[in-house]
Subunit: 280 residues, 2 copies
């Protein structure tokens, strides 16, 4: 093993480093470099262009927190669209909800799906659920043909660089809005306030102009930059920062992160984060 440690430079000047037992996969797809590592601390780790996307050990935080706040605060989430998320983790969480009749996953890079099927069995466990349709294409284009179709749309994207930069644009947010049914909810992964506060601020500002309500919320993800990640939820029906958990399904006891108290607490922002929303 020539380099037994993997390091992600989360900024030019700092990063996360972890021991690697084995590099299981390393290929360039049409969109990005896809690698899978076996690690003693985090189990299997998927990286895209050198950035950690999921690890066996802490993926539950991201996937529970992108899915359940929107689905449990929507009165009847029957149809759900996930843009990105080819690893399958968001699909798995959405499929826990018995109200959901249709889940469309639109991932631009088929290699992410293939690699996840091969190396991350716990993530892809619901990709073959009969309610799920997987489409490999650009989410932006997909939405051109799917107006007023979804109760919930989750944007489970990579960082806003290269091809994914457009997923952080006002024109993309507007496309998502048109894909929602009346009263629908959209959630966007929106980066780290600590390292990219201006990005979170801009996302919140753009969504706030387009929807009646938009609010960021937080989750503790150890392998993501700064360890605290943001999602921004937008809706015309309710203010996410005051949203209620409308149902208490049985599966709540099986979750490892989400609970109704965490849902409410996730919207409480430290002062330095609030400042980015006041002056993005």
């Amino acid at each position: 093993m020539s380099d037994p440690w993997f390091t992600e430079k989360q900024t030019p000047y700092c990063g996360l480093t972890m021991a690697v037992a084995e590099r299981l996969f390393d290929q360039q797809s049409a969109f990005q470099r896809v690698e899978v590592f076996q690690t003693p601390e985090y189990g299997r780790v998927l990286t895209l262009d050198g950035c950690v996307m999921v690890t066996d050990r802490d993926e539950f935080v991201y996937h529970e927190m992108i899915a359940h706040p929107a689905l449990l605060s929507h009165p009847s989430p029957r149809s759900v669209l996930i843009i990105g998320g080819g690893d399958g983790g968001s699909v798995r969480e959405v499929c826990r909800h018995p109200e959901v009749e249709r889940v469309d996953l639109v991932e631009i890079d088929p290699m992410v799906i293939d690699v996840s099927r091969k190396f991350f069995p716990a993530l892809v466990s619901k990709l073959d659920d009969p309610r799920v349709t997987v489409t490999c294409m650009d989410g932006f284009e997909y939405l051109n043909d799917h107006k007023a179709t979804y109760d919930v749309i989750l944007t489970d994207s990579v960082d806003p660089v290269g091809e994914a930069a457009k997923l952080f644009s006002a024109s993309f947010f507007e496309k998502v809005r048109t894909g929602l049914r009346p009263g629908g909810t959209a959630v966007f992964q929106s980066e780290s306030f600590f390292y990219s506060g201006e990005v979170v601020g801009r996302v919140g500002e753009a969504l706030g102009e387009m929807f009646k309500h938009a609010a960021p919320y937080l989750a503790y993800i150890p392998t993501y930059p700064s360890g605290v990640w943001s999602f921004t939820m937008a809706s015309d029906r309710m203010d996410p920062a005051r949203a209620e958990v409308l149902r208490r399904p049985d599966f709540l006891k099986d979750l490892k992160y989400f609970n109704p108290e965490v849902f409410r607490a996730a919207f409480a922002l430290p002062n330095y984060m609030r400042a980015y929303l006041d002056h993005p």
Copy 2:
């Protein structure tokens, strides 16, 4: 520069790595190796035995969150003891409270104080406040001679290894309890649930047997292991998990992390953390 990056192995298999512009200080004290780095990402960084203690950029999180929850939920915090905390950051936050008449800082290692005075002017700004007395000795022994003296005691310790291990013992918690006046509040830094959940569980269990109430709360500290840190608050007067912010002093607007909503939210624990409290 032979090694322009500093790496803290937060576990044997993963860590935080950051670029170093200059190593400003490196000496072995009677207790530990004390180093100070100038870094482009985090400004000045103090490490003890290779573990990051404070950085210019994110120290506000730890210090605001160890001090203000206890002080603002106590009806009359006139006398405060800080055990450890030789960098001065906790003293600075405690001194914001006009109710406080006496702050005793008991730090075992004078080199930590000297180095902080030299390299961290923003941290030590209140060490010379007339209400503050600095004593260099073992906190355990200090408490033998200070019974029923304090309204609030903050244990701002390093990790539970070596000399500091005893600060995580039931006999130390009992010493702290005897140092409190009736109705007093104690706060202990209590490590990361993610990497050391069993430590947080044991601290909570021991304190729960000794005080009427004990509860952990969380703060997002990017340079600490896992990025999410715990403190445990204990009191006979009130249940910390239901405590109220009793005053809204003017200085709240100057804080960068703490606000009353964050205070309440900090006690909401994700399920995997709750599990350590149920079965420590």
